[in-house]
Structures are given as C-alpha cells and as structure tokens.
C-alpha cells in the first residue's frame, strides 16, 4: 500500500507549487489546482480505506501496516526519528475524514474566498495544513507525530492570521499558536520522559502491551505520581492544548477570526481532534500503564464539555457559538476515551469516541460551512443581524437544520448514534459523570437550536437588500456533508474501529438512548419556545440570572485571567524586570567595571602629571620611606 505516501505527499507538493509560483497563476487556477490535487488525495484515501478494511483483517483483528518507514534523524542508538506511514483503523478513518472535509473546504473556498486578496496563498496554506494533518495521523512514532503536530500548529497560525490586515485576526493567530505551543511544551517533555525510559518512539512498540518496555519506569515517582503517569499526563496536556480542553481552550473561540472555511477545516473537523487522536493512538499505554491519567482525561473532558456548553448558550457571534460547541463535543470524545476499557465490550467508550469524532467532523464542518454561507450572505457574524433567513437561503437552511439535529442527538441523524454510545459508556463508568454528560447533551441541543432559530426564524433584522443563496461551489459541499451526516450514523463503525481492533457489535442501550433523546427534545422545545419568535423570556431569564449570564458571556473570566497572566505577569512582571536587570545590572556591572577602570586610570594619570616638581616630591618621599624602613626595620 505504498501509494498511501501520495495521499500525504500530494498536498505538500501542491503547497510548494502554489507557494512558489502561486503569484503567477490566476486565483481561479490556483484554487482548482489545490482542489484537484486534494481530490486525488481523497480518492486515494478512499481506496486505501477500502483496501485496508477489506484485506488487513487477520484472525478478526485489523493489523497495523507500515508501508513506509525510513530514518530521518538519529539521536542515540535506540532513539531515532523515523518518518513513515502507519495504517491502522483509526489512522485510515482519520485519512478519510481529513481528506473529505478538506476537499469540501477546498471546494467551498472557491466560492467563499472569491475575490479575496491572497487567494493563491490561501490555497497554499490549506494544502500545507492538509499535508501536516495527514502526516500527523499516519505517524509511525510519537516524534513524527510531534513534528507534524507542530506543523499543524504553524499552518493553523498562518490560516487564522490569513487576513493579516486585521489586528484581531493577527492577535487570534498569535494566541492560538502560543497557547498550543505552551501545551506542546508538555507534550515534548512527556515525549522526553517516555522515550528515555522506554527507549523508543515507535507507536507499534509502545502500544504492543509489552510491559517490559516500561520496566525502567517502575517504582519511579515524582511528587506523588508515578513517572509514567507524569509522562502520559504531560502528553495529554499537548493533546488538550490542540483539542482546546479546559483550561487551554481559550485560543479556539478567538481563532474564529480566521476565514470560515478554515474554521470548518481546522477548528471543527481536523486539528482540534488531534488531541483526541493522540490519546486514542496511545490508548493502550494509557490504559495499561496509567489508568489514573485516563480518569483525568475523562474529568477534563467532562468539565470542558459542560463549561463550553454553558458558555455557548449566551454567545451572540454564531461562529463563537459553534466554536464553544466544538469544544464541548471534543470534551465528549475525551470523556469517551477516558471512561473506556481495553478489551471487548469494555472498549465501548473508545469506539464511541472515535465514532463521535467521525460524525462530528462531518456535521460540525457542515455547521461551519453553513455559517460561512450565512455570513457570506449577510456580511456579519452577529445573530442580531440575522433572523428570518430561511426564505432566502433554503439549501443552507435545510443542511444547517440537519446538522443541528445531528449534534442535538436526534435519531436517525449521525450524532445520535455516536453521542449515545459515549453516554452509555459514561453511565457504565460512573452514573454521576453520565448525568453530567446528559445535561451537557441537553444544553447542546438547546444552544444549537437557539442558534438555529435566531438565524433562520425569529424577527428579521433590517437589511438593505435581500440575502442571496451561496453559489454552487458552496452549496455542493453543504449538500454532500448533509448527506454524509444523514447516513454516517448507520455505518457499522464497531466493525472497523475499536480499541482492540477486533470487531465490536454496537448494541444501542435503549434506556440511555431514550433518556438522551428525551432530554434533547425537551431542550429543543425550550429553545423553540424562547427563540422561534421574538420572546421576552430569554432576556428576563438573563436578567434574573444576571451574574451567571455575565460570567458566561465573559467565558467565566478565563480569558481575562490569561490576559492577566501573560500581560501583567509575564510581560510586565517577568520580562520587563529581566530586561531591566540585563540593561542595568548585568550590563551596568560591565559598564561599571569599565567606568571603574577609567576612574582608576584617571586617578593614576594624576601621578603622571608631567610636573617634575611633583615627581621629585614623590621620589624624595620614597627615598625617605626606604631610608626609614632600612634604618629601623
């Protein structure tokens, strides 16, 4: 299956081509080149998926294939970075997800970004991002993953800051990069610790369940936790940063300053699930070596999920709502992983999490692209500039509704199946956690329909001219993704992707399913009541819960906290004193040394005055002194 190399390589070549000669091309040509290249990549990944899932099964278990692996850099005899391609169910699934969404976004962008300055550059960046993301998912070892992880971060930086003339976009891109970079520091240190003791970066060896690898770490502990827990927790920190887990999520809402298709690609479907993918990739290690860290993963996921859902209920910028919804949904995936076991039925959470990742990618991309179409039509991100759009944007409306139903967890849309599995696994793990997640699911349904109603129903805001439906290049991806959202739930996912690579038959837990559907329906009902028409209830509610409302609008002051830490503590509290210290104390010491020697020189120069009389005086005194010394001592 060596051709899988081209899945990864083609977008890179496209990036190089567009980056170097893009300026000489017309925007249209650049767009088409990017799209066509990615279409080839997508086809190849579908072929790969077909090929893999039909042939790679040995004894009912999917094998890990490594069609390509070569040494890129040697560190020590044992540790070396390899670049290669590792195919296993999750990698193949991610290939499909990434190429599909990316292709849709490429296609969509032709219409959406039409006439933008730097169109060619945009496509170059998109290709770079796709390349990095694909390289990440097929990584054969943790260091390759780190490499592409960083590249993903950088290309995300470039894409968020695409419209670099806007200070907000620039600030957001900077924030995104630095926050994730900070998380990556944890990832890196985790890798250092893990690789030092296990002597390998290789995923296959790490996840083989070979306990002897970890023998070196046994009994070692640091601050009350075992070293392996530390290592894995730090690696999870990296994942949490990219996946916008609380409290490292602050960059994601701001990243909505980027072009909307970029948000759909990066901040909904692909990059933000990298953290989930990372944990899933190392799942056997987590499960076998540090189950305590998995609990941490579950708790962080649940907190994030609930937090983001609450915040999403009061946002007014539609992309921000979607951003928080993404954070919340990724929290679901993390919870799924955190509560999962390894073998057979215990592995429900893992499977569900991956399933949710898959379905979420589709419907969240759809939501973002739909939001893009709406923004394209009304030229605003704010809900108050919308309302009553269902008449003007019929296709967008229908597809958006499909996505909202999916995310709310209404059968038979795909979100129902995947989310339900997660809830079932969570209840199985811990009913209290399950209750929290159900509540979150309800909130999800509420805020999504709040969004839906305020965009498409409610009172229409004043407009100068009627909004027009988006062009074909935009509606085609919408339709495609809506179709995918409709059918994705029926994919027998357990056959393909499971924790132990063996087949898993999904049994719907009907009590959980019924309960969650009921919760969702109630939430939708409330949303309908509040927002379908203009209604005073939401405002009244907001004023009666003023404190909570204000706090949620300000995202519970976390951003302010971060700003305080970076601006006040790091910038003013550390850097300025350090710089001052350098200029005045260290350099001052050097200059002081220079001044001192100058002073000494000047004072010594006084002796060399050129006045013979003074010399004689000194000589005389010297002679006398010597005479006295010679006489009396």
């Amino acid at each position: 299956m060596e051709y899988t190399l081209f899945i990864v390589l083609l977008p890179f070549l496209s990036f190089l081509f567009l980056g170097l000669v893009g300026k000489r091309l017309t925007p249209r040509a650049a767009g088409y080149i990017g799209t066509v290249v990615l279409a080839i990549s997508t086809c190849l990944s579908y072929i790969t998926a077909w090929h893999y899932f039909t042939t790679a099964k040995v004894d009912g278990v999917f094998e890990k294939l490594t069609p390509l692996n070569f040494t890129w850099l040697n560190f020590t005899e044992k540790l070396h970075i390899d670049l290669g391609i590792l195919l296993d169910p999750i990698a193949v699934m991610m290939l499909v997800v990434i190429t599909t969404v990316s292709l849709m976004v490429h296609l969509y962008s032709v219409g959406y970004m039409h006439g933008e300055r730097g169109f060619q550059r945009y496509y170059a960046f998109l290709s770079l991002f796709t390349f990095s993301m694909l390289g990440l998912v097929v990584a054969t070892n943790i260091f390759q993953m780190y490499i592409f992880w960083e590249l993903v971060g950088a290309s995300s930086y470039l894409l968020i800051g695409f419209d670099y003339a806007h200070p907000e976009a620039v600030a957001a891109s900077k924030k995104a990069f630095i926050v994730t970079r900070f998380a990556d520091l944890g990832f890196l240190v985790g890798i250092l610790i893990l690789s030092f003791y296990t002597g390998t970066f290789d995923f296959e060896r790490l996840t083989s369940g070979d306990a002897s690898l970890f023998a070196g770490m046994e009994g070692l502990s640091f601050m009350g936790c075992s070293v392996v827990s530390w290592a894995l927790a730090l690696i999870f920190m990296g994942g949490a940063g990219k996946s916008a887990m609380f409290p490292l999520h602050v960059w994601l809402p701001d990243a909505m300053e980027g072009p909307t298709p970029v948000s759909a690609l990066i901040h909904a479907a692909t990059m933000v699930v990298a953290g989930v993918y990372l944990v899933a990739r190392l799942f056997p290690v987590y499960y076998l070596q540090a189950p305590d860290v998995l609990v941490l993963v579950a708790i962080v996921g649940a907190v994030t999920s609930l937090y983001a859902a609450i915040v999403a209920c009061v946002q007014t910028d539609i992309k921000r709502v979607l951003a928080f919804s993404t954070i919340s949904q990724i929290g679901f995936m993390m919870v799924g992983l955190g509560v999962s076991g390894m073998e057979g039925r215990e592995g429900l959470g893992y499977m569900a999490s991956m399933f949710h990742l898959f379905t979420h990618a589709m419907f969240k991309a759809l939501l973002f692209l739909g939001a893009g179409a709406i923004i394209h039509a009304v030229h605003s991100n704010e809900m108050e500039h919308m309302g009553g759009l269902r008449k003007y944007l019929p296709i967008t409306h229908i597809t958006f509704l499909v996505a909202c139903l999916a995310i709310a967890g209404i059968p038979p849309f795909s979100g129902f199946f995947s989310k339900d599995e997660i809830l079932a696994a969570t209840f199985h793990f811990n009913p209290a956690l399950g209750a929290v997640m159900s509540l979150t699911a309800g909130l999800t349904a509420f805020y999504m329909f709040r969004l839906y109603y305020r965009i498409f129903w409610n009172k229409a805001s004043h407009r100068d001219h009627a909004p027009r439906e988006a062009p074909g290049s935009m509606t085609v991806p919408l339709t495609f993704l809506a179709a995918a959202t409709l059918v994705a739930g029926f994919i027998p996912f357990g056959k393909f992707v499971t924790s132990d690579s063996a087949e898993y038959i999904i049994h719907l837990d009907w009590t959980v399913a019924a309960a969650s559907v009921a919760v969702a329906l109630i939430a939708i009902g409330i949303a309908t009541l509040f927002y379908r028409r203009e209604s005073p209830i939401p405002d009244r509610l907001a004023s009666s819960l003023r404190g909570l409302h204000a706090a949620a609008s300000r995202r519970f002051y976390l951003d302010d906290l971060y700003l305080f830490v970076t601006k006040k503590i790091i910038f003013n509290g550390i850097s300025k004193p350090v710089a001052w210290f350098d200029r005045h104390v260290v350099d001052g010491a050097m200059n002081g040394f220079a001044t001192l020697s100058q002073r000494v020189s000047y004072s010594i120069r006084g002796f060399q005055s050129g006045q013979v009389q003074q010399y004689v005086m000194v000589i005389l005194l010297g002679v006398l002194l010597i005479a006295v010394l010679a006489l009396f001592i």
């Binding site: 005086m617 005389l620 005194l621 006398l624 005479a627 006295v628 006489l631």
Partner: protein
C-alpha cells in the same frame, strides 16, 4: 672654652650658609633669592678656602659668584617686567608638603650623620699646589683627568652653541 680662629670662621660660614640657603628658598622676591644665593656661594667658597682648596675656592668665586649669578640676575631682569615682582602666592598644602619632606630629610640625614662614625677624621694636609692640579688635569695616567677635562670642554662648547641656538631669535 677657647675658640680658635678656625672655628670662628667656620661657624660664621656655616651660619651664613644655613641662614641664606633657607632665605633663598623662602623669600618672595626672586631678585633677593638670587642675591641670597650669591651669599651662599661666597660662603661655600669660604669653606673651600678653609679646607685649603684655594684653587677650588677661586674657581667657585669666578664661575659661580662671578659668572652664573650674573647670568641669573640678567635673566631675572630680562624675564620680569618688574624686577621685584613678587613670587606668586604658594599653595599652603604644597608648601607644607615640601616643608615636611625637607625637614624629614634633614632629620634623617642628621640622624645618620650623627650616629655614624666616620673614623679618624681631621683637617690636615696643606694647600694643593696648582702645579699638581695642572699635571693631574693634563695627564693620562691613573688619577689623572685629561679625558674628563676634554669632555667638559666639549660640553662647554656644546653649551655655547646650544645656548646660542636656543636663545637666538627666530
């Protein structure tokens, strides 16, 4: 307590030397300073005469008292608009330092002089004949000084030329 004529003369000379030396360096007027120097030089010549070095005394009188002092007086008169212009006021610290150094020097020297025994020392021998001096100056043997004599003569010549060169108008 019988004081010989020799001693009387010596004390007189010594007193002149001491008093006028000090006056030479302490007086505020430069012309007086030169005059006091002249007295010191006369007294020195007296010492030479007392030591029976009459030739030396004569040389001292002619060259120093006769030549050099005249030179001084002329140059003082040449360089001072008012011949009796006062020397500028000296800085006290400087005077003090000089005085301390000088007094300390005198103290140490005297201490050494008076504690050191020079062995048998008496004023004896007689007048050195000029003939002996002339032979010693013109000879080339041991204890004869033709070479220094010639060197001095060349030095003097050089001085004459140098003095003219330096002082002539440009």
């Amino acid at each position: 307590m019988n004081i010989s004529i020799q001693e009387t003369v010596f004390f007189l000379l010594a007193a002149v030397i001491v008093v006028f030396s000090v006056l030479t360096v302490t007086t505020k007027r430069i012309l007086r300073s030169a005059t006091y120097l002249l007295f010191v030089l006369f007294a020195t010549a007296g010492i030479y005469f007392q030591l029976d070095y009459s030739f030396l005394g004569a040389v001292q009188l002619t060259i120093y008292a006769g030549g050099i002092i005249i030179l001084y007086v002329f140059s003082i008169l040449l360089t001072n608009q008012q011949a009796d212009e006062k020397l500028e006021k000296l800085r006290n610290s400087k005077v003090l330092a000089g005085a301390i150094a000088a007094v300390a020097g005198v103290g140490i020297t005297l201490f050494l002089l008076l504690t050191h025994s020079f062995g048998p020392s008496r004023l004896e021998g007689g007048e050195v004949p000029v003939k002996v001096i002339g032979t010693a100056l013109m000879g080339t043997d041991k204890y004869q000084y033709l070479l220094p004599f010639e060197v001095i003569s060349i030095l003097l010549l050089a001085c004459i030329i140098g003095g003219i060169m330096i002082a002539r108008k440009r």
